[in-house]
């Protein structure tokens, strides 16, 4: 039962991250997840300093608030488009530094230690139960992340056409009355919620892995958005399962293993994806080059002919047979008599090719 809870939690966290991660990727905002983890950490630490109790619900609120504030802050800066990139990066580094200093200063040996913060430790998740009115609903992390996942799915479903429109062609969207800004804000708030909720289970850095790897993998496998959404979710699940299983087998960090699995999955897809993977591309390029050579060779002859027939040197017979094999030349267009000749018809066909 515990093991089941562990797998379920891992899968749900992975799913919850992948969905907003997909839209962040499509809008070119993937680094937001990285920035958010930095600022959320500070929010958590500051809240802890005020509240003094790690288990307090205020921790969650504090984290969400800081996440949303920073997300909105970045949003505003996007519109200013000054060299804000470097400044933003520095602000987050600064916030992260402050957070670490505060943690080391004050937190001492409480739950809020650095390792846990970075890595989370999903292994403990099954023991932290969600109990409402005396009923044990399962691991808290599972519940919270499932909630966030449902929220994301709902957001996506309700605003589907708005999301698509404002991501693909923001300018026209503005013109007919939609607001890319509202959708960005919504997406960013959603991402903050996701980061905060997943944080607890898998830690800061790895949230980023789940928000980028599954969407990126799906992106390589399909050109259709709906398929991409389903693929992202499927790949998020498989990476999570693989990772947890691997971690159990090797007895290593579970979230680290999940991130590794996600990365390996991406790597496989990158290399081997049919027609879009690296290997397929290399093969295609070689074939293309060869065909271009064939064409060039024949164009040369066509453009140089002085009468109805052009003779090809014997070495070109190999080329011609190749063409014949590919069905580019029908019978009657080539006569092979010692050296092959191009008939006029054949020549014209080549020009059109």
């Amino acid at each position: 039962m515990i093991l089941f809870d562990l797998f379920m939690t891992g899968v749900i966290v992975s799913l919850a991250c992948a969905l907003p991660g997909l839209w962040l990727m499509l809008r070119g905002m993937s680094m937001l997840s990285d920035a958010l983890t930095h600022s959320v950490l500070l929010g958590i630490v500051v809240t802890y300093l005020f509240v003094g109790d790690v288990a307090s619900p205020w921790m969650f609120v504090g984290a969400v608030v800081s996440g949303v504030i920073t997300a909105l802050f970045i949003e505003r800066l996007q519109h200013r488009k000054v060299s804000a990139d470097a400044a933003v990066g520095l602000v987050f580094a600064g916030m992260f530094s402050v957070a670490i200093i505060l943690i080391t200063q004050f937190a001492g040996d409480t739950h809020l230690d650095l390792d846990a913060v970075l890595l989370g430790e999903i292994v403990f998740a099954p023991f932290d139960r969600m109990v409402i009115a005396g009923v044990d609903l399962g691991p808290r992390a599972l519940f919270m992340n499932a909630l966030v996942f449902v929220l994301s799915a709902l957001f996506m479903w309700v605003f589907w056409k708005e999301l698509v429109f404002t991501t693909f062609d923001a300018t026209s969207a503005v013109l007919v009355g939609f607001s890319p800004a509202i959708l960005s804000t919504g997406l960013v708030v959603l991402s903050s919620l996701t980061v905060v909720t997943a944080f607890d289970a898998v830690g800061a850095i790895l949230v980023v892995a789940f928000m980028t790897a599954a969407p990126a993998s799906a992106f390589l496998l399909t050109y259709r958005l709906k398929t991409m959404v389903w693929l992202t979710m499927f790949l998020a699940i498989t990476a999570a399962l693989l990772g947890i299983w691997g971690a159990m087998w090797l007895d290593v960090s579970v979230s680290g293993a999940m991130a590794t699995a996600a990365g390996v999955q991406f790597g496989m897809i990158w290399l081997f994806a049919p027609s879009r993977g690296l290997i397929a591309h290399a093969f295609e390029r070689r074939t293309l080059r060869y065909e271009v050579q064939l064409l060039a060779h024949l164009m040369h002859h066509v453009s140089h002919k002085h009468d109805d027939h052009t003779s090809l040197a014997p070495s070109s017979i190999a080329y011609v047979s190749e063409l014949h094999r590919r069905g580019w030349l029908e019978n009657g267009q080539i006569t092979m008599a010692g050296s092959a000749r191009l008939t006029e018809v054949g020549g014209r066909n080549i020009s059109e090719a």
Binding site: G94, Q105, L114, V252, A262, G263
Partner: protein, 280 residues
């Protein structure tokens, strides 16, 4: 009395602050701020593997970190160039995945029946107190030559940042220079890990340069100023950290650099405006 431990930490801080400030200038001028972050996160598996193979040998750890950093960046470039994926998502993914791999290796190591591996965690956050003379030696042995290379190849570096045509006219490939720079940065990141840690190293590279940019009028001036700022924050941070209880060195140095950078961003334009108006 100068505490010898403090002395060691101080020297290390000055060196790493200065060298990263200087090289960071190139990154900032080329608008590649995220690159340092990517390299830094990628180093972790390298450190872990080096430890598994060679034990806690500072030199090998630095080499392992550099190699991993370079591989990470190379992958980002490769993936971005061979797919329709954009840089932001590839970089984010690589950062986190490499870090995850590093974590897996580290937790694996921690189960091994050997001592002395707890210190590996310090590569993530930095732990100045654990910096030893060996680390300083490495900084001198690698860091100073890097500065030397930059100074000797100054025209190339300058052209790389501002005038690519100059490079092409001399048959030098901008791409090759890019690779060399990334390699140098990987080494610097690796050198800075013990003190500042992987997560904050990129800020140490960028912040002094961003600050210097607001005040300097030439590239050499900018680089020099960045080195000075980096080194000063280094020594100041080390001092503060040593003087007060439970203040980690790495974040303190970074915080100082960031503070100066943000301050410069805000003050420098106003200062310039006042100068232009003849008020100063």
């Amino acid at each position: 009395m100068i505490d010898s431990v403090l002395f060691v930490i101080g020297i290390a801080a000055v060196l790493i602050g200065g060298v990263s400030g200087a090289l960071g200038t190139v990154m900032v001028l080329r608008k590649r701020s995220l690159l340092g972050d990517a390299i830094a996160h990628a180093t972790l598996p390298g450190v872990a593997i080096a430890y598994l193979l060679f034990g806690k040998n500072p030199l090998m750890l630095v080499i392992g970190a550099s190699v991993a950093g370079i591989i990470g960046v190379a992958l980002v470039v490769l993936i971005t160039n061979t797919t329709r994926l954009r840089t932001d998502v590839v970089m984010g993914m690589m950062l986190a995945v490499f870090f995850g791999v590093g974590m897996v290796l580290l937790t694996y190591i921690q189960k091994l029946p050997t001592t002395g591996q707890a210190g590996l965690m310090s590569f993530v956050f930095g732990q100045a107190a654990a910096v030893v003379w060996d680390d300083v030696v490495l900084l001198l042995v690698f860091g100073l030559p890097i500065i030397g290379i930059v100074m000797l190849a100054w025209p190339v570096v300058h052209a790389f940042c501002f005038d690519q045509a100059w490079l092409q006219a001399r048959g030098l490939s901008g791409f090759a220079v890019d690779i060399v720079v990334m390699f140098l940065i990987s080494v610097i990141v690796a050198l800075g890990l013990p003190m500042v840690g992987a997560l904050l190293m990129s800020a140490l590279l960028i912040a002094p340069a961003v600050a210097a940019r607001q005040w300097a009028t030439s590239m050499s001036g900018m680089m020099f100023l960045a080195a000075i700022i980096g080194a000063s924050c280094g020594i100041a941070g080390a001092y503060v950290s040593a003087t007060f209880e439970r203040i980690p060195t790495g974040p303190t140095i970074v915080l100082l650099c960031v503070f100066i950078a943000l301050l410069s961003l805000v003050i420098a334009p106003r200062w310039r405006a006042m100068v232009n108006r003849g008020a100063v």
